[in-house]
């Protein structure tokens, strides 16, 4: 075996901020501006670190982004250029390299924050292009807490510069960042995105970071970076608790771990670096050699494919009428609910397919990726044959996804694999090609081999290639079930790859499908299938997997199996929870009894048609609930319980309607949105739920919605009523702008507004047609706009 050249540890610098504070930097002052006012001081600090032995120094540009520099009188490129010049000058003749230092933007990204991914990308783009022009040797994104922000930064640097990219994130002792990102997710996402080195800085001292560094070592083959604080901060003042000598002692351990880049963060000074260099100079950092596990992730959930992992199949319109309708109507709550149900049932990964005639796949894929990721932490598998949709989805995906799929056709491989490589995803290869699905296991194996070969040619590691040997319907092609199973074993044993199968396909056209599906699944698992694509809400199938994991030792001491069935047998008897007697559907609604509402709706549909159930039973019940709420006889929880029960009733009715092939019931379309800049959406969601109860089709645009999105949707969907919500005085202006944009667009619609800080007077002032105090009033307004006769 060829031996890699030995490499010794490279030393980074220590803190800049600490040094500046020692020189009297005021709290709240922007350190980057000292490049102009105290140029010599900055250069001196760089020189001190170089004298202490630093081989890479970080420029004084941690907060040099457009948001943080706003109002300072200086532009990004101006500050970056100056700071790089100073660092370059300090390095002259030393052979040391200059790293463009980039910290977090300072605002949180969507979905919890309001900064969009594209905005973050542009902000980073501005910094890194300026840094490259100014002559930086590399860029380092440090002290990052949000993996999504890191992804925007890395993409900007990759797409817009040729600079090598270092990334360090900052963790708490529990191994998570403030936004919940774990060490493993950082490692697998960034290795996928192709950064040059990855590591940890700030927050903790070298002692506390060490166990996290060990976890990182197990999950990356990239060179590692550690920049620890000088211990933990004292609660009294800004001092840190370990000496330069102690710091260096702790850092020795990192040498043994094979860390390639070592330096200091808050509280460290040139003395710390000098001690560090003394202790570790000449130490060889061994390259990581242990094979990495296949892994996909979201920031807070890393799924290692080291045991059977279930891929949920339900986010797919094929053969699912309600999902088709939801995609066409942008009924996101329905889709999110499906995602959540699968995750709760134990799916480890969720397949997402939005392809359906009439759907703009390239627009909907990223939209749904973002929305699903805002409520579910389960990793996603983007399922499409449309490269634009795949790229759009991969770009905004937070973490490492799976692409479903490529096949043996060269054109497909050449289109999709570059995307897989660029965004660092895993990929499913279907064992078919332009001539169709081969009938023998051997031929399918050959295609798998070719896909693997091509993937590696594009730089995709084999651990990220997952092979689907294709399930064919046994009622149509009976001999194929065994060929599929045989192919699974061949791929597993001869190529060592993980395999995927859309298991449910096996049983189409046969009675008692679950039995066939379950039996085939068990056999396939036995042959080495480890990524079954199934419906996790069928408990029989999930039970079979739980049992398999016990029998194959994946579930050690049967812990999870026991837990699974303890939960089921330990469930309280539902019948005892029920109140003694529910007479009819209206009563079930008024009392907020979901299960009863469902059962009673089915009963009512036996002697009435769908519309009659809605008009004669549901709506009057909801009206009574609304009246009682208004009179303070019942309160918000009961109102919403009633709404939830009505939703159940509606669900039954909708299923019936779509089964009959009748057009959907809609009394009219209403847009709901929390305005740009605002993220308080619970009030809006309450109103949406109640409006849906009354049979209106609500297009929920979510929170932090740009005015243009509201206008475009209103025009495209011909919406007569728009509801806007804002909770803060600071975002009322944004509400006003949205109304203005709607009016200026010439689109004829009524606008209702609501939210805690609004008053009827203010609503009128900003040009709204109606002020809705609560959900009840919103319904009254809708009745007015769409006409009572309709209601």
């Amino acid at each position: 075996m060829e031996k890699k050249p030995e490499r010794t540890i490279t030393f980074l610098d220590g803190a800049m901020g600490t040094m500046l504070q020692k020189q009297g930097l005021q709290t709240g002052e922007k350190p980057e501006l000292l490049c102009f006012t105290h140029e010599d001081l900055i250069e001196q600090i760089h020189r001190q670190y170089l004298a202490a032995g630093s081989q890479i120094i970080y420029t004084n540009t941690f907060g040099a982004n457009a948001r943080k520099l706003e109002g300072s009188g200086y532009g990004v490129s101006q500050v970056v250029c100056k700071a790089v010049q100073i660092a370059r000058r300090a390095c002259a003749g030393t052979g040391a390299r200059v790293a463009l230092d980039v910290g977090p933007i300072g605002e949180l990204l969507e979905p919890v924050g309001t900064l969009t991914f594209d905005e973050a990308y542009s902000l980073f783009e501005e910094i890194v292009t300026a840094g490259e022009r100014a002559g930086a040797d590399l860029v380092v994104f440090e002290t990052m807490a949000d993996l999504y922000e890191v992804k925007a930064a890395v993409l900007a640097a990759k797409e817009r510069t040729k600079l090598p990219i270092f990334v360090t994130m900052t963790f708490e002792e529990n191994g998570r960042t403030f936004t919940g990102c774990c060490v493993e997710s950082m490692a697998c996402t960034l290795e996928g995105l192709g950064v040059d080195a990855v590591g940890i800085n700030c927050s903790l001292g070298p002692k506390e970071i060490f166990p996290l560094a060990q976890r990182l070592r197990c999950n990356t083959s990239l060179p590692m970076i550690i920049k620890a604080n000088a211990g933990m901060p004292s609660p009294e003042d800004a001092s840190y608790d370990i000496s330069p000598r102690e710091f260096a002692e702790y850092m020795r351990e990192y040498g043994k771990l094979g860390v390639a880049f070592l330096g200091g963060c808050c509280g460290t000074t040139p003395e710390y670096i000098a001690e560090l260099v003394r202790a570790l100079s000449g130490v060889v950092c061994e390259a990581h050699t242990a094979p990495l596990c296949s892994m996909v992730c979201t920031p807070s959930c890393a799924v290692a494919i080291n045991e059977v992992r279930v891929i949920g199949e339900r986010l797919n319109p094929t053969g699912r009428k309600q999902m088709q309708q939801a995609l066409l109507n942008q009924n996101y709550p329905y889709i999110l609910n499906l995602a959540l149900k699968q995750a709760e049932a134990g799916a480890d990964i969720l397949d997402l397919n939005v392809g359906f005639p009439g759907v703009d796949e390239a627009a909907l894929m990223p939209e749904l990726v973002k929305r699903i990721q805002s409520v579910v932490t389960t990793p996603l598998q983007l399922d499409s044959s449309n490269p634009e949709a795949l790229e759009a989805g991969l770009r905004v995906y937070n973490g490492k996804a799976i692409v479903n799929s490529v096949n043996g056709e060269q054109k497909v491989l050449d289109t999709i694999l570059p995307l897989v490589k660029k965004y660092g995803a895993a990929v499913i290869g279907l064992t078919l090609d332009q001539s169709g699905i081969p009938q023998t296991a051997e031929e399918r194996f050959q295609i798998a081999e070719r896909i693997l070969h091509e993937a590696r040619r594009y730089g995709i590691p084999s651990r990220d290639v997952l092979i689907d040997c294709l399930t064919l319907t046994v009622s149509a092609q009976q001999d194929q079930a065994r060929e599929t199973l045989k192919a699974v074993r061949m791929v597993r044993e001869r190529l060592g790859l993980h395999t995927v199968l859309g298991v449910s396909n096996i049983s189409f056209g046969l009675p008692n499908r679950e039995l066939i599906t379950g039996s085939f699944l068990t056999q396939a698992l036995e042959e080495g299938l480890d990524l079954p694509i199934i419906n996790p809400n069928q408990s029989a199938v999930m039970d079979a997997i739980a049992a398999f994991k016990v029998l194959h030792g994946e579930d050690q001491n049967s812990v999870r199996y026991i837990e699974r069935f303890a939960q089921i047998s330990g469930k309280p008897d539902r019948t005892q929870e029920k109140p003694a007697h529910v007479v009819d559907l209206p009563e079930a609604i008024e009392k907020g009894l979901r299960e009863e509402a469902r059962v009673l709706t089915r009963a009512c549909l036996k002697d009435r048609d769908e519309l009659a159930v809605i008009q004669e039973l549901l709506i009057p019940a909801l009206d009574r609930v609304g009246d009682r709420y208004e009179k303070n006889e019942i309160f918000l929880p009961q109102l919403m319980n009633a709404a939830a029960a009505a939703c159940e009733a509606f669900d039954v009715i909708k299923q019936r309607i779509s089964a009959k092939g009748m057009p959907e019931i809609s009394k009219g379309k209403i847009i709901m949105a929390t305005v740009w800049g605002d993220i308080h959406d619970i009030g809006k969601n309450i109103v949406r739920t109640v409006l849906e109860n009354y049979g209106y089709q609500v297009i929920d645009l979510g929170k932090n919605v740009p005015p243009l999105t509201v206008v475009e949707t209103a025009q495209r969907e011909q919406v007569p009523l728009v509801g806007l919500s804002a909770l803060m005085t600071t975002t009322l202006e944004s509400m006003r702008q949205t109304i203005e944009a709607l009016r200026n667009s010439g689109h004829n619609c009524k606008i209702m507004v609501g939210g805690a800080v609004l008053t009827p007077e203010y609503a009128q002032k900003i040009g709204a047609d109606y002020y809705a105090k609560d959900a009840k009033q919103a319904v009254d307004i809708a009745k007015l706009v769409f006409g009572q006769e309709n209601a």
Binding site: T27, E107, V112, T114, C202, F635, I686
Partner: protein, 229 residues
């Protein structure tokens, strides 16, 4: 940044839910218990406090050694007898936001109750910090005023950014400010507490100093938020 135990005041939750003294049914109480449990389990409460000297200049009140002016007459009045003040920022953390969004998908009622529980929890958390800080000051022979937050009276919400920058809340406790001035995570509080050599009256901050004075539902109904109708 120390950890402090959290709790949730059930009566306060009912008040947030609009009950105002009306009895709540058993199932609502069960829902509150469940929501409270989940909030307490998922919360990662963190806070940061820092003491500053106050500097009175011709053009107004400043935090000494910083570029932060405390604008408005309301905060000046609040700190009238003080030479120093404590800046406090506290948050229940990121995970609560995700929990609230997730719960809204399938259980709107539960989400509403959780939201109210989280509001109560952050208030409780701030009360605890205030008590600790009060004790610390009293040990030194000083007295602490109540909490005064951006948005009260004429102390503008637009100071949130500077406030959080000065405490470095993003790095220290994961508290961000959006471009529109919102605290993120939402279940977070920033406040100023004055430090004075003389005993404080302990009188309650009135409606005039409240950011909701113009739109408050309680005021519209002719009562106060501490009261039960």
């Amino acid at each position: 940044m120390e950890k402090t135990e959290l709790a949730i005041d059930r009566m306060e939750v009912l008040r947030y839910l609009g009950y105002r003294g009306h009895p709540a049914s058993g199932d609502v109480m069960v829902e509150i218990e469940r929501a409270a449990r989940e909030i307490l389990q998922k919360a990662t409460p963190r806070y940061i406090c820092r003491t500053f000297d106050l500097e009175r200049k011709a053009e107004g009140l400043w935090l000494a050694g910083t570029q932060f002016q405390l604008e408005g007459s309301a905060i000046a009045e609040h700190l009238a007898s003080c030479d120093q003040c404590v800046l406090l920022a506290a948050t229940l953390g990121y995970e609560i936001e995700v929990l609230l969004s997730r719960t809204q998908v399938a259980h709107m009622t539960r989400a509403i109750v959780m939201d109210c529980c989280a509001s109560s929890a952050i208030e409780f958390f701030c009360d605890r910090i205030e008590t600790l800080e009060r004790k610390r000051q009293e040990d030194k022979g000083h007295y602490l005023t109540g909490r005064f937050s951006p948005g009260y009276g004429d102390f503008p919400l637009s100071v949130q950014r500077k406030f959080c920058d000065i405490l470095d809340t993003q790095r220290k406790i994961g508290l961000y400010v959006s471009q529109s001035g919102l605290l993120i995570p939402r279940k977070s509080v920033t406040a100023i507490l004055g430090i004075s050599g003389c005993r404080q009256s302990g009188k309650k901050r009135g409606c005039a100093a409240c950011s909701r004075a113009a739109t408050c539902q309680y005021r519209k109904d002719g009562i106060h938020c501490g009261e039960e109708a």
